[in-house]
Point group: C2
Chain length 313, copies 2
Amino acid sequence: MSTPSRSSGEFSFIAWLRRQVRPSSKVFTGIGDDAAVVSIAGDHLLLTIDALVEGTHFEAGEASLREIGRKAAASSLSDIAAMGGAADYVLVSAALGEGCDRAGMEDLYHGMAEIADEFSVELVGGDIVSGSKSLVVTVASVGHMPEGKQPVLQKGARKGDGIMVTGELGGSSLGRHLAFRPRLREAATLTDICSPSSMIDISDGLLLDLSHILEESGVGALVYEEAIPVSDAAAELAKRTGTSPLEHALSDGEDYELLFTVAPEEVVKLTEGEPLGVRVTRIGEVVTSGLRLRRRGGEVIGLEPEGYEHRVG
Amino acid sequence: MSTPSRSSGEFSFIAWLRRQVRPSSKVFTGIGDDAAVVSIAGDHLLLTIDALVEGTHFEAGEASLREIGRKAAASSLSDIAAMGGAADYVLVSAALGEGCDRAGMEDLYHGMAEIADEFSVELVGGDIVSGSKSLVVTVASVGHMPEGKQPVLQKGARKGDGIMVTGELGGSSLGRHLAFRPRLREAATLTDICSPSSMIDISDGLLLDLSHILEESGVGALVYEEAIPVSDAAAELAKRTGTSPLEHALSDGEDYELLFTVAPEEVVKLTEGEPLGVRVTRIGEVVTSGLRLRRRGGEVIGLEPEGYEHRVG
């Protein structure tokens, strides 16, 4: 699951939930990280589940069923990528509204199959139920840690680490939110060439997802304004919203880029020569506490980790 | 997943879906059985996903959120039982309606935890999204095959095999549908003491679930009227519906009993001395083709595999 941070009420529910669950020798990381890390028959498995809900993640008519299926599978696999894992299987359950016909179901499937095929993941379960008032597409993904690799958790960031992101940020709602690819290959290369101390995928917005890493790791962050890779879409969206491109890059959700921390000596391995096949930017550094932005002029200001709330309208 | 047989349209969609999925050396059983059987890191895993949908599986107010959570987890684990597997992990995603508050979320969780605790299964993922018009609770379960055991598929029934059920059937809607226990322990004992040739859990009704076994195995069945273990609830419900207790036992859904076939010489191992800790009844025999009922008087009539359609009202 992506950290289910859609509202403060849900935040606090997840905190409550984590307190309920007994420690177990079989569960290395349970509720709260991008995916659970569990033991089964002696191996480390990655397990994650997430739903796309009409009215919350999309509105009817805003996206085609093919796009919704594609996005449901891609965002689930993004959680496996954020652990540094390899994805193996996808299970899907769709609760369909009255208006969804056979052609719609096929479209939904084709969208998922597009992603599954691209990443050599097998679609092994499909439960379809009609009669829901809202379309709800739920995807569970199963992955594993490649031989010799450890899962990259949200906790683990250390003071002095560089804070890194792949790609460019902001304005995802103009199109990227339906077209992104899960960063599975980039995460595999990343964990081949260095040892990230923490990682998450950006689903709720850079600052909000960064705040998850900070909270889990018990550290703070200083973010450099001039380093934020603001996307063209963020600039485009800013013309319509009156919010600055920078703010879109900091707070928009659904970029599904990787946000991670690495030891300072490893930063250069990632920022020179584009070894991941995508731009990687150092956007700041891990500090003892707090969440602050260093403006272009050198002034340092406090930031609130406000993110995209996955709420339409 | 339970075979998603809620309507003929969904039946035919699943048939279409099975044709879409490429054969894979890693997937032993994909879409269509109670759970998928897959390979990961050299082991056989069982994977299943299912949703409970308000308006289809239950109506708001008809069951408490605790009961709905309990049922969602129990019916998912019943699919692992129906493969003869051991259950390990449960992942949950809940799309909540506007009226669901924090107390409701906690109730939902407590219902799941009740089942998870009883069967020593770990609840490792929890995704919560608000804003759905219908409550949709989706559970994915992960299990494995114990050392030396093979998954029991729906295909595998052979002519002459005894057709067996656990427990008593019919009238589940009077209470059992919210209170049943997944037959995990019974399935484990069953596969310890004999080798069932096919198995399914009764979610859609005896005849409909039996017809899945027959179709997958390419065989038929002769069912003995006098042997059907008609529950008291079926008799009770019959007084209200005007349908006979037998018909309720044959067609009501959500008993979540095990329906399986065994070689004729193994029948007695199961019906004498109650080795599974629950009544096991031989209700018929596998024949070459067709689905027929032998009446008490000896007359043999054809049956339609009509089942419960998981549709309320």
